[in-house]
């Protein structure tokens, strides 16, 4: 990271005065935040290594923003320890934690022009005017907002405001960036662009980023690791692929993926062939491939939760699961087909282009080729592994 920060792009100006990038680890140890009876964050333990891009993912109201604000020092934990760079910062004021935050609303000061907005944290720290000008010029050039410095926030576009907010955070050179859904106010195209830019920025700066979002695409594409929060409780931490492929529980399974994994409850029954097992679902029974059947047998389960990704479902005349097509979403590069099973349960099928697409209203049968299923405990909803 250090190297990339120094080399930069092809049109680099002299690298004089550059110093080592700053980053620090962040640790949460059993951090709990209660508001009256409501628990926003429930004994959260999480270790973020220095320089890591960690995404806190979860549906709205899951406590992820609260967790971020706890790290920032904007809220005080009811219990638990927060460390930055190994040092407990619970007692430290927000301004002394050396972290910068990018807000969903950008929190730009409407009465100050872009320059003054970016300078704001520098002025608070009594940075000399010359140094200030130099830093603002540097950061605004790198974020391509150098020509906007005299405008007010109201006079620039949403994407530009986003950059100004980033610039204000960067110009301080903090140890940790805290980002609270920074892209959610941008339109879809700009958001995709900014995702890439943020990743690039992280690579160059090497600063730890704690990034909050409810958008699993952002999480998957940007994070070194993803931490999934639900109802204030940490569900799983892991690299994107791991979270995607081996979700820790049915909630994570149903949250990650686009469209997310299908989650179906079913009863276990014998196939009659050897000691094979099948799962009886609302629209029919599907065989359980052997390594999974062995797991079910070992636990002595009679029912379970089956998860299957839409790309692992096929429209198959020989399929054993029947339903009717309720909707087809043609996305160009692929098609999403929603089928309603007999019990009323919807199941999503993802079809690559070229595969025949059924029409809405059509009755179809489905199969799970290759048996790429995930099993979850019917009670705890925890992942069942070999």
């Amino acid at each position: 990271m250090t190297a990339s920060a120094v080399t930069g792009g092809p049109t680099v100006s002299p690298a004089g005065g550059l110093e080592l990038p700053r980053s620090a680890s962040v640790g949460l140890e059993g951090v709990t935040k209660r508001y009256g009876d409501a628990t926003a964050v429930d004994s959260l333990t999480l270790e973020i290594t220095a320089g890591e891009f960690l995404v806190l993912l979860g549906p709205s109201g899951c406590g992820k923003t609260t967790a971020l604000r706890l790290v920032a020092g904007l809220e005080e934990p009811t219990a638990g320890l927060i460390r930055i760079d190994g040092e407990v910062v619970n007692e430290l004021d927000a301004k002394d934690r050396d972290v910068a935050m990018v807000f969903q609303s950008y929190a730009l000061y409407p009465h100050l022009n872009v320059r003054r907005n970016i300078e704001f944290p520098l002025r608070a720290r009594h940075v000399a005017a010359e140094e200030r000008d130099r830093l603002v010029a540097e950061v605004s050039a790198s974020l391509r907002i150098g020509d906007l410095l005299d405008r007010r926030p109201a006079q620039i576009s949403g994407g530009q405001r986003q950059r100004v907010a980033l610039a204000r955070a960067i110009v301080r050179r903090p140890r940790v960036f805290l980002m609270d859904e920074p892209l959610s106010n941008l339109d879809a195209q700009l958001r995709t662009e900014m995702r890439a830019e943020l990743v690039e920025l992280h690579e160059r700066l090497g600063t730890t980023i704690l990034y909050v979002t409810h958008d699993q695409v952002e999480a998957m594409t940007m994070g070194d690791r993803i931490a999934i929060l639900y109802r204030g409780v940490l569900q799983q931490v892991g690299v994107p692929q791991e979270v995607h492929d081996r979700p820790a529980n049915a909630f994570v399974a149903g949250f990650i993926g686009s469209p997310p994994m299908n989650i179906l409850r079913g009863e276990l029954a014998a196939t009659g062939i050897a000691d094979g097992l099948q799962v009886v679902l609302p629209g029919g029974a599907v065989p359980l491939p052997e390594p999974l059947a062995a797991v079910a047998r070992r636990r002595g389960l009679t029912s379970l939760i089956v998860g299957v990704r839409p790309e692992h479902v096929a429209v198959d005349p020989a399929g054993t699961l029947s339903g009717s097509v309720t909707m087809v979403e043609a996305l160009g590069h692929e098609n999403h087909v929603a089928c309603r099973l007999e019990g009323g349960k919807l199941i999503m099928v993802r079809l690559a282009t070229g595969e025949p697409v059924p029409r809405p209203g059509e009755r179809v049968t489905l199969s799970f080729p290759g048996g790429r299923l995930q099993l979850f405990d019917p009670v705890t909803e925890e992942r069942l592994d070999g």
Binding site: G9, G17, R125, H126, E131, V171
Partner: protein
């Protein structure tokens, strides 16, 4: 994104002189204590003024009402309990002054409101030069009670006053010395002086009436007159209510015009509550009676303000 990422000197706590970033400078308790201290520091100036000049004197006023002021100075005042409250409140002088105050309210508030609303409607048209009329209609805001009173006092002068001449009261005692005309005259001055304020208030409210509603009514075929009564006025009712309460409270406090125009005369015919209170307190130095009158005035204003608060609490205070 970045042609070159600024990776300059860290600009943070550890570089800043005079701000130790170490832990425990202020603990969690210390921080909330510091916050609390700061909060009280911020409200302290206002709180101190209120304590000395609002809350303490209010309590003191109530207490003073329990003591009868001696007929001669330097004698001790005597504790009489509630008897002074009873005697003052049941006295003819008090009841008459209260009645005159009510009359004054009745004379000034409704007429002032109708006139202000009328002017506002009149000025709420898209006509060339309307801004000039708006400025003229709000111009009396610039005249204080004293300015308005002195102007009218001179214009009503029985010898040289222009209004006395036009109204056929030249020579003689003059309108302000006429027992039947004095209070109406004071009311006219008050209405005129308040007109600018009422106009501004009503204009602002009128401009808050959404065009869409009026246009919808117009498309539905309702006449201008009908639109005013059925759409505009109902939408204005909160402001009208506000104006009535504020006007009434103001009328109960109206002192300057009485002092400058009639000094309570002729023969007490304009001796409203506040002026009666002023005379007792500062001309006759009867602090006991004045205190009782103050308490009565306070209770009346309290009820009026409470009515206003109850109404606006719903609409405005927590409207966010």
């Amino acid at each position: 994104m970045a042609d070159r990422v600024p990776v300059s000197a860290p600009v943070s706590g550890d570089r800043t002189p005079g701000r130790p970033a170490g832990p425990g400078r202020f603990g969690r308790l210390g921080r909330s204590l510091r916050e609390a201290v700061l909060g009280y520091l911020f409200i302290l100036p206002a709180l101190a003024v209120f304590a000395v000049f609002v809350f303490y004197p209010l309590v003191k006023t109530v207490i003073l009402g329990f003591y009868r002021t001696p007929p001669f100075p330097n004698l001790p005042s005597r504790f009489v309990g509630l008897s002074q409250y009873r005697s003052v409140i049941s006295s003819t002088a008090f009841l008459e002054s209260l009645w005159r105050t009510v009359l004054f309210v009745v004379f000034t508030v409704p007429i002032g409101l109708v006139l202000g609303l009328g002017l506002a409607v009149l000025a709420n048209q898209r006509l060339g030069g309307i801004q000039i009329f708006r400025t003229i209609f709000s111009s009396t805001v610039a005249t204080s009670v004293a300015v308005a009173s002195v102007i009218f006092y001179t214009l009503l002068n029985p010898e040289v006053g222009l209004f006395s001449y036009w109204l056929g009261h030249q020579g003689g005692a003059g309108i302000l010395n006429n027992p039947t005309l004095a209070l109406p005259a004071v009311s006219v001055v008050t209405i005129w002086q308040n007109l600018g304020f009422t106009f501004i208030l009503m204009s602002a409210a009128l401009q808050g009436v959404p065009d869409e509603l009026l246009e919808a009514a117009r498309i539905d075929g309702s006449s201008q007159w009908h639109r005013f009564w059925r759409v505009t006025l109902p939408l204005l009712s909160p402001t009208v209510f506000f104006a009535v309460v504020v006007g009434t409270i103001g009328a109960f406090q109206a002192f300057g015009q009485i002092d400058l125009l009639t000094q309570g005369g002729p023969n007490n015919h304009t001796d409203v509550l506040i002026y009666y209170l002023y005379q007792q307190a500062f001309l006759f130095n009867d602090t006991g009676v004045a205190a009782v009158l103050s308490v009565v005035l306070f209770v009346i204003l309290l009820i009026l303000t409470f009515v206003q608060f109850r109404f606006f609490e719903r609409r405005v205070f927590y409207g966010r």
